[in-house]
Amino acid sequence: MIPAAFDYHRPQGIEDAVAILQAHGDDARVIAGGHSLIPMMKLRMAEVPNLVDLQDIESLKGITVQNGRVSIGAMVTQHELITDQALAVAAPIMREAALQIADPQVRYMGTIGGNVANGDPGNDMPGLMQCLDATFTLFGPDGARGVKARDFYEGAYMTERDDEEIMTAIHFDASTAGYAYEKQKRKIGDYATAAAAVMLTKDGGTCTSASIALTNLSDTPIWSQTAGAALVGTDCSPAAIKAAVAAGLDDIDPSEDNRGPVAFKYHAARMMISRAISSAWARA
């Protein structure tokens, strides 16, 4: 399986990379780890006359945790998310989710920037970013701008990012909230049939805040404000969890595919939301 021919660019700085995108318009795309794009190019479902490799751009690398704020360069790999000690303390849900993505070889190459920027509804990080209320930095011809993860996704593979912009970094607050990322998949390496990211805080026996986001249950990730709201002020009793699950299911719009019919997707979603809430509550 050989992709169509392309010209290869390896810019050393982000401005150079943007300049190449400006020069070629629709005929150029960036490549990060390549583990979504290269398979599509091999199948000739993606044609990329100019491939812009970001691997030499140092400013896109590294994880920092400073003053309660986490910043992750777009070229940070899933493997680095799993092994970074500071991140494991500041946002342990990142490690829990990254371990459920693909397989070891793919995680050495696959990047967080590629995972969130591609707009594939099957990807796990977009929902997680919405759960964490992350902000994405996009760098384009007019400089940098920030976009909230909760405002970024418009449809399958459709995002707020302009063609001439490159995602450079992801930022969110460190948190000690209880957390869980629960994912139902058919086999190792598969995308989710349904997955849920949950973070919640507890004071005494009462839930004081809750954030719930869902993966691969609509053509975008879904941050369910009503599901979270259904838990706040409760003791996360079975009845409260049932109400939150019902609210979450109201917000999704799954479609039938090789992972199952719509009714099964609702069933899997119900199980994942419910498990993630219970697990996050136990850790809060």
């Binding site: 399986m1 021919a5 010209d7 290869y8 390896r10 398979p39 070889q105």
Partner: protein, 163 residues
């Protein structure tokens, strides 16, 4: 289509190869450098038969363009032992029947090598999780896991003896 010069180090040896940017790394290794240890299995980044080590990472060489490997330091199964000898992992796979047809074996051993570099004392669960990117259609995995666990023990006792 214009070719580019790709400079890379493979098994400790520097190479300069003329390649189209779209050429896959697995083809460069097998066809230009005659390193046919890494196999082509599924060609869809699932099976792991093409696993190599690139800059300290286990990588599926069917999902990397030759151009991306410019400047990379690569190790293939050929670089893991001296010709005519078996390293500890290879010997362990032989001893514990960790292979039947052998097609997945170079990828299995190259991946297991990196796994043991990063985690010299894995549990059985660590091995199964760490080998999840390599498929085998013969063994049912039982003996592959056994081979890697035994190799870890062997490597650790050799290390202790040396200390």
């Amino acid at each position: 289509m214009t070719k580019m010069k790709v400079n890379l180090t493979v098994n400790g040896q520097a190479h300069e190869v003329e390649a189209e940017p779209r050429q896959l790394l697995i083809h460069l290794l097998r066809e230009d450098l005659n390193l046919t240890g890494p196999h082509i299995g599924c060609e869809t980044s699932h099976c792991g038969a093409c696993t190599i080590e690139m800059d300290g990472k286990s990588v599926k060489a069917c999902t990397v363009f030759a151009a991306q490997a410019q400047g990379a330091d690569i190790t293939t199964i050929e670089g893991l032992s001296e010709p005519g000898t078996l390293n500890v992992l290879q010997e362990s796979f032989r001893e514990h029947h960790g292979l039947q047809c052998g097609y997945c074996t170079p990828g299995m051993i190259t991946r297991a090598h990196r796994l043991l570099q990063e985690n010299p004392t894995p549990t059985e669960e660590d091995v199964r999780f760490g080998m999840a990117g390599n498929l085998c259609r013969c063994t049912g995995y039982q003996n592959i896991v056994k081979s890697i666990m035994a190799a870890a023990t062997e490597l650790n006792s050799a290390k202790e003896a040396a200390e």
